[in-house]
């Protein structure tokens, strides 16, 4: 009986505030936009009993999803989000791997400090860290001032309000998510394996490619998903650092909801985004399970 109480409290909470809301999104994505409160139709009228339910059911259709395929704004935004998320993941890997590798080679006294320094930005406000780049990347910003003073460029570069700024923002904010799993994979690496490889005639470089990299694979995969998945639905970074040409689906959903007040289309955008993300999420979970089994 006590066990039942223990299970049911968090279970009911999640059902009511996670699963049910999602079903509502699904339902509204099948409704039509209307000039009413709430701004969609049909609404379920329970007072009419079964007839009301069937009337409501027959009012649902996939019109909004057809609309998503017809207006090229949406599929362009999905593609552009995919491209930006993929590119940022690759960049984060290129920046993050050397850091994780360096951390794993550091002495035992240094490692806790380095670890803390990677985690510290993660606790700092995400919004503030994105905002910090605005003053650096703007036309009269500090990066342009620096580059012009050194004499590398004569004219200020336009970086803020472009996709480049979005890449920098995503890599910067999600870097700890890339570094930590790679570091924990590399930390477990048995040093004697590298010595064995070198004794058997590998150069240090070959030993890196043949021993270190394959053993870090799980960490690389985990880190990549941890950057890719949130980057795909990102809203804050493109709206603060990106320009009017930066199309990302998180931003489209936000505008559809808040500016256009088109709830059914916003819901349909959300449903499609989730369908796209299910693939990487399932792959990520498989990778985690594999790792857990390997760890046992």
């Amino acid at each position: 009986m006590k066990r039942f109480g223990l299970i049911s409290v968090p279970y009911l909470w999640l059902l009511a505030l996670f699963l049910v809301p999602f079903l509502i999104v699904l339902k509204i994505s099948l409704s039509d936009t209307a000039l009413a409160i709430p701004p969609y139709t049909p609404t379920l009228d329970m007072s009419e009993g079964w007839a009301g339910f069937t009337a409501w059911l027959s009012g649902l259709d996939i019109e909004n999803f057809t609309w998503l395929t017809q207006d090229d704004l949406y599929w362009k935004a999905y593609l552009s989000s995919l491209k930006i998320a993929t590119m940022s993941t690759i960049l984060a890997l290129l920046v993050g791997f050397p850091i994780a590798y360096g951390m794993s080679r550091a002495s035992d006294e240094w490692r806790p400090t380095l670890m803390m320094m990677i985690i510290l930005p993660f606790w700092t406000s995400f919004l503030i860290r994105v905002y910090a780049w605005k003053a650096i990347l703007s036309q009269e910003g500090l990066l342009n001032q620096l580059l012009m003073n050194i004499g590398i460029i004569g004219e200020p570069l336009t970086i803020l309000n472009t996709n480049t700024a979005v890449y920098i923002g995503i890599v910067y904010t999600y870097l700890p998510f890339m570094v930590l799993p790679i570091y924990s994979a590399l930390e477990r690496l048995d040093e004697s394996l590298l010595e064995a490889a070198e004794d058997l005639g590998c150069s240090r470089m070959t030993a890196f490619w043949l021993v270190t990299l394959p053993l870090a694979k799980q960490g690389i995969i985990a880190g990549s998903f941890l950057v890719f998945i949130p980057a795909m639905g990102e809203f804050v970074i493109p709206s603060l650092l990106g320009g009017s040409k930066t199309l990302m689906i998180g931003k489209v959903l936000w505008e559809e909801f808040f500016s256009n007040r088109d709830w059914p289309v916003a819901s349909a955008v959300a449903v499609v985004l989730l369908l796209i993300l299910i693939i990487p999420i399932v792959l990520f979970q498989r990778n985690e399970e594999k790792q857990r089994e390997a760890g046992k």
Binding site: W13, I24, Y101, R105, M116, L120, Y131, A132, I229, F235
Partner: protein, 269 residues
């Protein structure tokens, strides 16, 4: 023997410079006398004064703090229960759905979580305000808490709890006297994580807040959307300092605890 190659040293230096320089610049320019954030005009603390006279920011900070304390506390209780269920309850009907609902919010895009909760609140006719933000924050942060706590529960020696039960404890007493003290560090870090997530959240709060319940991130976002402002730099500096003191303090405490335990073990043998 591990040794840093020049490549390791360079990548660590550049990597940490990349992570920290933007924040340092933000801090330095919060003490700038001029209105422009990119041109240095002498040292001044006037933006801190302006910030503390800005009622709208103070109100928003108060709302944010209230929401964070309430949501992280409820989330810690619910998340610890959920972790217990995941690790100890064994098989039960709907377990797959349960673990799915624990993990899904961790990877769900914030815009979708926010949208779905808002549509729920509207459907049941709940007015948007502090309560709705607390409900929303509790829901996603309890999942983080349960992940943190269950990773500690997995390594916990169950025979300790069984011994307490054999010695006449009730189930709840065994939990309170034996299990809780051992998993306490994980519960505390779960609470801290939930607290920070709530302080930090912009997207979900924007969907679920009402006109009378603006949180600090919403305020900051609307202020910086169009440009940079020295007041926000001052606010950021205060927030960064608080977090840095907290994180460094916590890591020093845990370092000392580990050193003490090692010493105790040495003395015992």
């Amino acid at each position: 023997m591990r040794r840093l190659s020049w490549f390791n040293t360079v990548s660590l230096t550049l990597g940490f410079a990349f992570l920290y320089i933007p924040m340092l610049i933000l801090i330095v320019y919060s003490f700038n006398g001029g209105k422009l954030v990119t041109v240095w005009a002498g040292f001044s603390t006037k933006w801190y004064g302006e910030l503390f006279r800005n009622e709208a920011f103070l109100d928003a900070a108060w709302v944010t703090l209230k929401v964070a304390v309430m949501s992280s506390s409820v989330a810690t209780v619910l998340g610890t229960m959920a972790a217990y269920v995941m690790v100890r309850a064994g098989r039960f009907h709907g377990r797959t759905l349960f673990s799915g609902m624990i993990y899904a919010p961790l990877v769900m895009p914030e815009v979708i979580t926010g949208l779905s909760l808002l549509l729920l609140f509207i459907a049941i006719g709940l007015d948007r305000g502090v309560l709705t933000i607390v409900l929303a924050h509790t829901t996603f942060s309890m999942c983080y808490v349960s992940v943190v706590v269950s990773s500690r529960l997995v390594t916990f020696d169950q025979s300790l709890e069984e011994a307490a039960l054999d010695l006449g404890c009730t189930g709840f007493e065994a939990f309170r006297l034996v299990t809780l003290p051992i998993i306490a560090p994980a519960v505390i870090s779960g609470w801290l994580l939930a607290f920070t997530l709530s302080l930090d959240d912009l997207v979900i709060a924007s969907f679920t807040s009402g006109p009378s319940s603006t949180t600090l991130p919403i305020k900051i976002f609307s202020a910086v959307r169009l440009g940079v402002s020295p007041e926000i730099n001052a606010l950021s500096t205060i927030m960064i300092t608080l977090v840095a003191v907290g994180v460094i303090g916590a890591s020093l405490t845990s370092k000392r605890a580990i050193a003490k335990r090692a010493k105790d073990e040495q003395e015992a043998t």
